[in-house]
């Protein structure tokens, strides 16, 4: 059964189309991820689905309720963890949960039981009477997840759930997300621009760029579409080598992007000598070459023609780092 269904969902801000004719559905019980660079339209989509913004065109249904005509029904059935923390820091963790539950109409005994349950789920039982201003970043995020679950939502929206957290805390948050998906049977819709996050958490991923969905599929299907192995190389004449390689049947995909060629192949390590030979034939010198397993980054590249990182470097052009240099530093 599909718990979220959208049809040609569109949002325009004066001259900018933030979300452009987006149609997709999310199955009950799955973890679905929207993957895309900053400014791709992820947060705008979430805001429309959670009734905070009205779509310019198109429609969406959550648990069979229309997001425009049945706002309160939709709101009762969803939980949200915003990108920026939305807690009252002057209150304790428990009070934040308590007030939330009241607004969603839980009665006293239900409130008490449920607070115990969700605090246990995110391991915050001992910090319940501490003011939220004294929480760490990770604890705040956990409390928000707990709060999102308070009213037994069918769907939980997570907008960039691990943005700005350190590596260790991110792992912990991931574990909590997996746990609640399993134990509470909550469908999860999350957005992220981290490849590893989407890869670790999501059953299915939709790749979104500039307001459009490019592809929706399971992680393994997306990866196998790129090829079993990925070879990345740089050389003296990319165009010339690219042309030569286009003739080879065993290369499933070729992408040329800022000084690199990325090829999708099978048995990558055996193909390296062949590529070097081909390069010598056309008189091109190979500067570097490597083979690795495909990542979602490669998937993103093959659908958009650029990597997520490049997109972010471009949007941060004030910093003025050339993409190649950031790549070199890795």
């Amino acid at each position: 059964m599909d718990i979220i269904k959208t049809k040609n969902l569109t949002k325009k801000f004066s001259d900018l189309t933030a979300v452009d004719n987006v149609t997709f559905s999310v199955h009950k019980g799955e973890i679905f991820g929207f993957l895309g660079p900053n400014g791709a339209g992820k947060t705008t989509t979430i805001k429309m689905l959670t009734t905070l913004l009205n779509p310019t065109a198109g429609s969406a249904r959550i648990s069979e309720f229309d997001i425009i005509k049945q706002r309160d029904k939709v709101r009762q059935n969803i939980g949200i963890v915003f990108q920026e923390p939305a807690l009252d820091t002057e209150l304790t963790g428990e009070e934040n949960l308590e007030y939330h539950a009241r607004m969603y109409g839980l009665n006293r005994s239900k409130r008490k039981d449920r607070i115990e349950e969700v605090l246990k789920l995110v391991d915050l039982e001992e910090k319940r009477r501490v003011f939220v201003k004294n929480y760490s970043g990770g604890m705040k995020r956990r409390l928000e997840i707990a709060r999102g679950l308070m009213h037994y939502p069918n769907v939980l929206f997570l907008d960039e759930p691990t943005l700005g957290l350190d590596a260790q805390t991110r792992r912990a948050i991931w574990a909590y997300i997996k746990k609640m998906n399993k134990e509470e049977d909550t469908t999860i819709f999350l957005t992220t621009h981290y490849m590893d996050e989407a890869e670790y958490l999501c059953d299915r991923v939709g790749i979104i760029d500039r307001g459009k969905i490019l592809v929706i599929n399971s992680i393994s299907n997306l990866k196998s579409a790129v090829g079993k192995d990925v070879i990345t190389l740089s050389c003296t004449d990319l165009n010339k080598l690219n042309k030569k390689l286009q003739e080879q049947k065993w290369i499933s995909k070729i992408k040329q992007h800022d000084g690199f060629l990325t090829l999708g192949v099978e048995k990558g390590d055996e193909k390296i000598p062949i590529i070097i030979e081909l390069a010598q034939i056309v008189g091109v010198k190979i500067k570097s070459i490597s083979v690795r397993k495909p990542t979602l980054d490669d998937v993103f590249l093959s659908y958009t023609g650029h990597t997520i990182r490049d997109e972010e470097v471009k949007s941060n052009s004030m910093i003025g780092i050339h993409p190649q240099y950031t790549r070199g530093k890795r």
């Binding site: 709101r75 923390p85 939305a86 807690l87 009252d88 007030y99 009241r102």
Partner: protein, 254 residues
């Protein structure tokens, strides 16, 4: 009825304000200390300089003005503090809950007005302790009615400002360029009767009716208009402020 979502929402918004108010000791102290400074320092400093139309002690004249000032500042601040919630994201959490915006506004206004009234009452009790006379029991009831109306009007005004501003940077500007001049011209600190122009200006100043009404009902002299006339006018001002304030808040996006 007490378990309906809307009622709970109003209660939560109110309770939250009360908790924040009682927990923030520095705010509690400063909002009470500041008017007391005004009362004592202005009270003793201007006592010999200012001559009152109907005579009497300057401290008695000043006390209602200070009570009005403390309520005004405090409730305006709670109105504007919607901006904090906007900046720290908490407003979003409230706005996606299955409750109407109307309940949010009511709860917030009640919370702001209650905290302001507590402060106003503390100043009032201190002033009475210092020997400020009470005109009559009915006058005292009228005083409280004025205090409630002032509180609600100021929360409404705060909401208007909050929905027009994006952050807190403009707040001191509004305090210094609008509220302080209005307060000075409201007869809170000195009578406006001495100067004809000042008197005319006062009639265009909403704060004047609040201060004059509070004075007329509490001490019962040195006021210009009868308290009940003031009460009617302040009631209208209050309705206007609350209506515009909640309308703009309703329209503003999170």
């Amino acid at each position: 009825m007490f378990n309906t979502r809307e009622f709970q929402a109003i209660y939560v918004m109110w309770l939250r304000q009360m908790k924040r108010f009682l927990r923030s000791k520095s705010r509690l102290v400063s909002t009470i200390i500041q008017p007391l400074f005004f009362l004592f320092i202005l009270g003793s400093g201007f006592r010999t300089v200012i001559t009152l139309g109907e005579g009497g002690d300057y401290l008695h004249f000043l006390a209602p003005g200070i009570v009005a000032m403390s309520i005004l500042f405090s409730s305006m601040f709670t109105g504007v503090s919607v901006l904090w919630d906007k900046q720290f994201g908490f407003l979003q959490e409230v706005l996606v809950a299955p409750i109407s915006r109307f309940s949010i506004i009511i709860g917030r206004t009640l919370g702001g007005a209650t905290t302001a009234l507590i402060q106003g009452l503390i100043i009032l009790i201190i002033a009475i302790g210092l020997g400020v006379p009470i005109s009559s029991f009915f006058g005292l009831l009228l005083t409280i009615a004025f205090m409630i109306l002032i509180a609600f009007s100021a929360v409404g005004f705060g909401l208007i400002i909050a929905s027009k501003m994006q952050d807190f940077h403009g707040f001191p500007l509004i305090m210094n360029l609008i509220i302080l001049p209005l307060l000075f011209l409201s007869s809170a600190f000195f009578p406006v009767t001495s100067n004809e122009t000042m008197k005319i200006i006062a009639f265009f100043n909403p704060l004047f009716y609040m201060v004059d009404g509070l004075r007329g009902s509490l001490i019962g002299f040195n006021n210009i208009l009868p308290p009940l006339v003031n009460l009617g006018l302040v009631f209208v001002i209050c309705i206007v402020m609350m209506t515009i304030g909640s309308y703009l808040f309703n329209k503003s996006e999170a």
